[in-house]
């Protein structure tokens, strides 16, 4: 996979220049995250200083303390986790079945369906807040976590199906035939052979559904209107962010707490993600 040629062909000073700029860009790109974590640990006096320094000599946990002492912060965190995990698991299973159907079978309306899945990705989620609000109200789902989970499953499905196609397609058909030869039933093939083989792809795909559910701020803001015990992390973060007098230490500490789970998830699936995107796009 290494394209040795392109490295070899670049002349030495150019490569050093390229490497220096790559490192410099990496620093610039990582700087906002560094500043976020740094500010979370800075004592109050250093944050609200007109001479901000890129280090701190007196790290303090005060900001984190303020965040965790905020009413039911742990509960918000748990709510966010429940929403994100439910969305990831349910949408991965549904998308796996649907992707299998559209890649391993030929049937009428298959192309139409594929185009529909593509079109569905374009639907602006935010525009649907209005009808979804009425829908949730009519089903008595306002102020429940369900009102956050259900729409996110629906919105992450089209992209997940679209992306999983490549992974399902990559499993050789010979394998399917061999399984049937050995007398495996359709569902046995599906769950015991295809599923484990497609699993890396499912993980890559779930990054996207996890992020969209974890980041959700609009639905939480619109559907959880009176019962704050059902609220999620973004809402807790905004408590510290008052436009006129923001508590930057609190905002940065809450942001750090909110970013870490996604970062962990990303680092865990990083390799699969890169190969998965390549596969999904090439296919």
């Amino acid at each position: 996979m290494r394209s040795l040629s392109s490295v070899r062909l670049v002349r030495r000073p150019w490569r050093l220049f390229a490497e220096a700029s790559a490192l410099l860009i990496a620093v610039v790109v990582a700087f906002p995250l560094y500043w976020m974590v740094l500010s979370a640990f800075k004592p109050a006096g250093e944050i609200e200083s007109s001479e901000p320094r890129p280090w701190t000599l007196a790290p303090s946990l005060d900001s984190f303390r303020r965040v965790f002492e905020q009413n039911e912060f742990g509960r918000y965190f748990l709510n966010s986790l429940v929403v994100a995990c439910s969305v990831v698991i349910v949408s991965a299973l549904i998308a796996f079945l649907a992707a299998t159907a559209v890649t391993r079978f030929r049937f009428r309306f298959r192309t139409t369906l594929l185009i529909m899945f593509l079109v569905a990705q374009m639907v602006p989620v935010e525009a649907l807040t209005i009808p979804l609000f009425f829908l949730m109200r009519d089903f008595g789902q306002l102020n429940t976590l369900g009102s956050l989970i259900l729409p996110h499953i629906a919105f992450s499905l089209p992209f997940a199906i679209w992306m999983l196609r490549g992974f399902v397609k990559a499993v050789p058909e010979a394998l399917e035939e061999a399984a049937y030869m050995d007398g495996a039933s359709r569902s046995r093939f599906l769950w015991q052979i295809l599923f484990p083989l497609v699993f890396p792809g499912l993980v890559a795909t779930s990054v996207f559904s996890f992020i969209s559910a974890w980041n959700d701020f609009l639905f939480a803001k619109s559907f959880i209107i009176s019962d704050t015990s059902q609220s999620t992390l973004p809402m807790a973060l905004l408590v510290f962010y008052k436009p006129d007098e923001p508590d930057w230490g609190g905002v940065m500490a809450a942001s750090t707490v909110m970013t870490i789970p996604v970062l962990v998830f990303f680092v865990l699936v990083q390799r699969r993600l890169v190969s998965g995107l390549g596969g999904a796009v090439k296919d």
Binding site: L4, S5, V10, A18, L33, M122, P131, F134, L135, S222
Partner: protein
């Protein structure tokens, strides 16, 4: 979409006829039903939570729907195209539409330029700088939109932010002016969306066989020439995908604008369609006007999708 290639697919009946003792008819019937069985959960969820709300959105946009109707105090009345007429007669709507198109366009162009150049850069460097850049990009990618927005706002804070200090701008407020506020949001959007482009294009370049590049280089092609005549055509499908994805994502930017400009900026100067629709519906309870804006957005994105499908079709790609 090419039919020929698809025919090699196994069909339940004929393939298994000599191993499975089941009657032909039954198997064929089953394999026609199986895909729909697998699709059922997806179709139910999408039907109930995507298609139906879209239909409702269209419906609401034709009715008079304000707080009075929501609370049930007054009956809903059919307005026909009244809401649309009101919308199209509103100067602010056209301003917001123009701002949305320009802002999304600027975001797409910057994201693609940054993402593609960094992807090329990644192929020119050894493992350590590559890993550093990759990790930094993944970090930016993983950052939730809302925390990214607050962090960038803090970086550019007139009183306590490091950027103004570094650039010697004193207490210049980025969110006060219309253009500078849009520029700040653009920086954040590019920061969190270039990694997708970079990683995807990089994966695409890696998939180009080394011999092809070597041959081009042996023939004396310059770097620029190799990129233009060899890489770009081979990467075209990938470039189409990342462009369209960026258009869709950037046209729908919500959180960044909402958080960074505090709901659309001073006197709504930084509104984009998405935020505008939300403000109309939930801040001023004009649900039908908000829905009408949503329908307009939907139609614009639908047009983009059609262009995308045509591009795919022209490449003769099988779905």
């Amino acid at each position: 979409m090419r039919q020929g290639r698809g025919l090699s697919r196994p069909r339940g009946g004929s393939r298994k006829s000599n191993t499975a003792p089941r009657p032909q008819g039954r198997r064929r019937g089953r394999s026609q039903r199986t895909p729909w069985l697998y699709l059922a959960p997806a179709l139910v969820v999408l039907g109930g939570l995507l298609v139906y709300p879209v239909y409702q959105l269209g419906l609401i946009s034709f009715f008079q729907y304000t707080q009075a109707q929501v609370s049930g105090g007054e009956p809903t009345t059919f307005e026909g195209f009244g809401n649309y007429a009101e919308l199209f007669g509103d100067r602010q709507f056209w301003e917001v539409l123009l701002a949305t198109v320009l802002f999304a366009g600027a975001c797409v162009v910057s994201t693609l330029a940054v993402g593609c150049s960094l992807a090329v850069l990644l192929t020119r460097v050894r493992a350590v700088p590559r890993l550093a850049l990759m990790l930094a990009a993944l970090g930016a990618w993983a950052t939730p939109a809302i925390t990214g927005s607050t962090v960038w706002l803090f970086l550019f804070d007139p009183d306590f932010g490091p950027v103004n200090r570094m650039l010697g701008l004193g207490d210049y407020s980025w969110t006060y002016g219309r253009l500078s506020a849009f520029f700040l949001v653009l920086l954040e959007v590019v920061w969190c969306s270039f990694p997708f482009v970079m990683v995807t294009v990089y994966a695409g370049i890696k998939a180009v066989p080394a011999e092809v590049l070597e041959a081009a280089a042996l023939d004396g092609a310059s770097q620029w020439r190799i990129w233009r005549s060899v890489l770009a055509p081979m990467l075209r499908p990938i470039l189409v995908v990342v462009t369209i994805q960026s258009v869709i994502w950037d046209f729908k930017v919500f959180t960044q604008i909402y958080v960074m400009t505090n709901g659309g900026g001073i006197a709504g100067q930084n509104l984009v369609l998405n935020v505008y629709a939300y403000q109309k519906a939930f801040a001023s309870s004009q649900y039908s006007l908000g829905s009408a804006i949503g329908v307009v957005m939907l139609l614009i994105l639908l047009a983009v999708t059609l262009v995308y499908l045509r591009l795919l079709r022209r490449q003769g790609e099988e779905m």
